[in-house]
């Protein structure tokens, strides 16, 4: 394990931000940290990066501080610095032996080649996030702590960040905190779910999804959908029916195999005009909502 915590607790007066967190992150993995606002994700990353001290418990990190890098959720820099100077400063502080041309390379990879010599005071929020990422990877750290790395980016930027994170798998360990569960589901090997300062689940993403996902179908119909919904609710193999839009239903079933046999017939009997129907893949969002409810 590259990161292990034992009984990690952080209190601010009467408020407990972290409550006995036992975290274990495998070297070379991409670990996703998810949880609602105030769950303690940023506090946990702050303690791992050395910016905060725990009230109780132990933290064991096998890499030295200079081989770690933290990217906060809203990177900001002195506005009179240029992008190249920010990355250059990061290089000097953590990896002075890295060749200078690497500065231009990471800025280019971050899509900031043309803005490299502009002052960061004129950067957009997305550009600042890219710059923060460039300054994070310049040192080729062994452990990256990324707090909402894609939150301010447009879809293309998010894709690039996710590709970068996926590319790092095996070369470095990444602990990534994100609200975008689809991103976590896409790039992470393991997940930690936090709520109210507690780590209520950690483990392989597959374990989380397989063990908890409720079988269900997404059904698209011509409106109105209510007659079909009422008919399905009467079926004993249907566990739940939710109207998710003017023309769609989420139908919870006892088993997917049973629904394959009986759902089309039930919809036809109800006179529904079916546009499409498909089983819902285990979704992190569903599991997350269930765990954090």
């Amino acid at each position: 394990m590259i990161v292990e915590t034992s009984g990690l607790t952080k209190r601010y007066g009467s408020h407990t931000a972290l409550d006995g967190v036992d975290l274990a992150v495998t070297q070379g993995s991409v670990f996703g940290l998810v949880g609602p606002n105030g769950a303690g994700k940023t506090t946990l990353l702050g303690i791992l990066s050395g910016l905060r001290r725990p009230t109780a418990g132990d933290v064991h990190i096998t890499v030295p501080r200079r081989r770690m890098a933290l990217l906060p959720d809203t990177p900001q820099f002195d506005p009179w610095l240029t992008g190249a100077e920010v990355v250059g400063l990061a290089r000097t502080l953590v990896a002075p032996r890295v060749p200078r041309q690497r500065i231009d390379e990471v800025l280019s990879d971050a899509g900031l080649a043309e803005a490299a010599n502009r002052r960061v005071g004129g950067y957009s929020r997305g550009m600042l996030q890219r710059l923060g990422l460039a300054a994070t990877v310049i040192g080729e750290p062994d452990l990256l702590l990324l707090d909402e790395p894609a939150s301010a980016l447009d879809p293309a930027g998010r894709r690039e960040v996710l590709d970068l994170i996926a590319h790092l798998r095996g070369q470095a360990t990444v602990i990534l905190s994100s609200h975008i569960l689809g991103d976590v589901q896409e790039v992470c090997d393991a997940v930690g779910v936090m709520r109210a300062g507690r780590l209520i689940f950690q483990g392989a993403l597959a374990d989380l999804l397989v063990g908890r996902a409720v079988p269900a179908y997404r059904v698209h119909l011509r409106a109105p959908v209510e007659p079909a919904a009422d008919a399905l609710r009467a079926e004993d193999w249907v566990t739940s029916v939710g109207v998710t839009g003017a023309d769609s239903l989420r139908v919870g079933v006892r088993a997917l195999a049973e629904a394959e046999l009986r759902l089309p017939g039930a919809l036809a009997a109800a006179g529904a005009r079916v546009i499409s129907l498909a089983p819902l893949a285990p979704d992190l969002e569903d599991v997350y909502l269930e765990l954090t409810a």
């Binding site: 702050g46 200079r66 906060p72 610095l81 953590v94």
Partner: protein, 249 residues
């Protein structure tokens, strides 16, 4: 690009170095002017029929005006500029960026303190040289040795003032709070310096050293204050590093 260059760029690109040099240069040039022409100025602006007679100005008067203005407004500018650099945790995200890339807060503090103290001393030197030149032209020559020693004592006081800002900024997070408390501390020291013989030991007595020395005060009288300023500076910077290391972001 290093933390030293970062502090240099902060002074230059934000025009703060220009501000420090300008304010001291301004007082260096206007101090002797006002000393030389004070009678005439008062005669012009005073009430009609009232004649104000002042003793003829001597060269030391040129320095007095400079020291008086520089020790107030100049010092305030120095403290504000220093606070903007030394209260580095006030800019949280930039502080996170730097703090997570150094082994100790001393690596951030030492360049910030040194560069800003050097800028303050440079301002004082520029202003003092301007006052020296202007006084020589308008009022007469000043003793070079005493001028240099006086400038050195004044510079030492500014270094102590910047160290005070560093110590306060380690305790309070905001720039204005750090500047305000530092000014208050130095003011209190100045007031306490008027009590008995305590003043000769306090660094605040170095503020008036240049003026006193060109009026034939003994430089040895300022050695206790200078020693305390040196020791105090070291202690304050050490305190700033120790307390700053414990701060959480």
């Amino acid at each position: 690009m290093s933390l030293w260059r970062l502090e240099w760029l902060r002074l230059v690109r934000t025009r703060r170095l220009v501000a420090i040099l300008s304010i001291y240069l301004f007082f260096g040039l206007t101090g002797p002017l006002s000393a030389r022409y004070l009678s005439a100025i008062l005669g012009r602006v005073g009430p009609q029929g009232v004649k104000i007679e002042l003793p003829p100005p001597v060269p030391a008067d040129g320095v007095t005006q400079f020291v008086s203005n520089a020790s107030q407004i100049g010092l305030l500018v120095v403290i504000l500029v220093a606070a903007s650099a030394l209260a580095f945790d006030a800019r949280r995200e930039m502080a996170v960026f730097v703090r997570t890339r150094v082994d100790s807060v001393r690596e951030i503090l030492v360049p910030a303190f040194t560069v800003n103290a050097a800028a303050a001393v440079a301002g004082l030197v520029v202003g003092s040289l301007a006052a020296w030149y202007e006084t020589a032209v308008l009022l007469g020559g000043l003793p070079p040795g005493r001028m240099l020693v006086g400038i050195a004592f004044g510079g030492l006081y500014l270094v102590f003032a910047v160290a005070t800002v560093a110590a306060v900024a380690a305790v309070v997070r905001g720039v204005l709070a750090a500047a305000g408390i530092a000014v208050t501390v130095l003011l209190v020291l100045a007031v306490v310096g008027n009590i008995g013989s305590v003043g000769r030991w306090l660094p605040t007595s170095l503020v008036g050293a240049l003026d006193a020395l060109v009026r034939n005060a003994d430089p040895v009288d300022y050695l206790p204050a200078a020693a305390v300023a040196v020791a105090g500076t070291a202690a304050l910077v050490w305190f700033a590093a120790a307390v700053g290391a414990r701060r959480e972001l």
